[in-house]
Symmetry: C2
Subunit: 352 residues, 2 copies
């Protein structure tokens, strides 16, 4: 594959990201040099995707620490506690952000005693989060590729690709693996209103990599699946409960219902860092309600009548019984998910 622009990169003490709000019209690189800029980038979805948010949030801690020169180790740890909340809470549904922020702060604070060491440990651990994510993507791609060996037409929703991770993506990683293996492949990408991550981002990154991709309105996926033209579905995840219930971009559960009706597999691809073992089921997952303007307006153009109400939940929960398997970096998890997930978390913990 050709040399692709990295969606997230650490360069000389700052973070560089592709501003995803401008894709596909413009490929613009933004430099993040303050915690406020990082939170703003998260908030307006210049960077998004649960695993990418983990790596980005971790690196943003370094930027946030550098920004306010601390004179003592104690002052630096107090600053990190501010950043833990400020950056860790920037979006509520993706667990990876909070997970990475906690991990990097806790590791750096507990393993060092001087200011210099703290900063070094913080950066090293943040880069490790990104590297581990890239490695997880690689392994998810390999495992997903095995599962999807005979699938030609594959449906996906939103964007769980290079633009959503620090590597080759989660749901899209097997597509890249299939393409590299020279297997026939056609990806159906639902456009993913309101913010069109499918039409804008998945279409852009797959096309950029030379993979055949067709964009459909969200509403057109179900009948396409029911017509028998789709071999499998694979989507990412923003948060997975201990029983396998999976929060992902709004609309995912409709695709899962169509997949079950058509009798095709419905795979979730996510690193184990996406699993929130503290949540017994999807009922406990907090669903972010985003601003109504995203529904009232499309790309800045008003489409609803003035004065009419809208609802704009950012995620939905797909119940575990609609999920064929969860593809993680430590293996392919199947029902009963309560057991396979607990086992995967043990193995993931052991490998770190």
């Amino acid at each position: 594959m050709k040399n692709l622009t990295p969606p997230i990169e650490w360069v000389e003490n700052h973070i560089r990201i592709i501003d995803q709000t401008l894709l596909p019209a413009e490929l613009k690189i933004v430099e993040i040099r303050t915690a406020a800029a990082a939170v703003d980038a998260i908030d307006r979805l210049a960077i998004r995707g649960a695993p990418a948010l983990g790596a980005f949030g971790a690196l943003a801690l370094v930027v946030g620490l550098d920004e306010q020169a601390s004179s003592t180790f104690g002052a630096a740890t107090r600053r990190l506690e501010e950043l833990r909340t400020f950056i860790g809470d920037a979006r509520p549904t993706a667990v990876n952000l909070r997970w990475a922020v906690d991990r990097v702060i806790d590791h750096a604070v507990s393993s060092t005693e001087t200011l210099d060491d703290l900063r070094s440990a913080l950066l090293a651990e943040a880069l490790k989060v990104a590297e581990e994510d890239a490695a997880a993507c690689e392994e998810i791609g390999r495992l997903g590729h095995e599962l999807l060996r005979t699938a030609v037409t594959i449906g996906t929703h939103c964007n769980a690709g290079r633009l959503a991770t620090a590597g080759n993506g989660t749901a899209l990683a097997p597509m890249y693996a299939k393409a590299e293996a020279g297997e026939p492949l056609r990806v159906l990408a639902s456009e993913t209103r309101p913010l069109l991550q499918g039409a804008r981002l998945t279409a852009w990154e797959l096309d950029d990599a030379g993979i055949d991709v067709t964009v459909l309105p969200d509403a057109a996926m179900a009948s396409t699946v029911l017509s028998g033209k789709v071999d499998a579905y694979i989507v990412g995840a923003d948060r997975i409960a201990a029983n396998g219930d999976t929060a992902n971009k709004i609309g995912t559960v409709a695709h899962a219902l169509a997949a079950r009706e058509a009798g095709i597999p419905f795979y979730v691809a996510a690193p184990t860092s996406t699993i929130d073992a503290a949540l017994p089921s999807g009922n406990y997952i907090e669903i972010e309600e985003r601003d109504g303007s995203e529904v009232h307006e499309i790309q800045g153009k008003r489409v609803t009548p003035e004065g009419v109400a809208v609802a704009n939940p950012a995620f939905d929960v797909t119940p575990q019984n609609l999920i064929t398997a969860i593809i993680t970096e430590v293996g392919v998890l199947r029902a009963p998910f309560q057991v396979s997930i607990a086992d995967a978390l043990l193995r993931a913990g052991a490998s770190q």
Copy 2:
């Protein structure tokens, strides 16, 4: 209710319609004085909705006949045969258009012998199509109201309201009836990409009538329904096969799957003129594939990368086993639909 602008009207030898492509930003009335203008209005969806297309197509025959002054009865009937194809085939999926055009031409040609009588009979029959549609809407509203008496939050898709008929709508007719009865009511309207008939038209006409309406992205309906917040679904239809399989706006079948999963009723509301008894099942319904630009662009703004493919089927087929009941002007039809539909067609024929 306040005095509402009629979406379709016969005024002094021409047709006046609301140009629905401009709603909700602008309420513009367009005059249709030629067959070409009529077909263009159908083609660009200035007028849409299966029952409205029936009434409009019927009236467009009069306009098309007047436009080319025929000197003899024979010349006029030949002109009508041209118009039968030209207007009747303007859109393939909605059966009402072809049905109304055939009915009006066949009645006028077979019941008259002079040019003047032919023209009079054509207009009278076309107006009768519109009046009968309004009466059918009224009855569908009454029957639907009975079924939805205890429902407060009701989901719908696309627009099957005043803007889609020559009356109070099909799926929306019970909403108007509930509102008039002073019953609590909250309508959830899916925005209906690609052309946003829900966000633009259903939201506009319900809000215009003072009914509480909330617009959701298509992808947000399933989880809302699964959360237990919706009491019932009601949608219109573009074509119903003899076994009850129903073609309606793309996305309808996804809503039907969610409704079944949530255990709430899923009603189809349509006049018997929407039933195509010649089709044994939904497999025989031709699905219109519309221009890809509707997916590539939203309200004129490009959202997909250049060179990427799109699919844009305008309708999908909801299998009859997902439909709780079909509400027609001659009664509420339930499974086995093969029987109830055949019976309804007999009764509809008898009442004409």
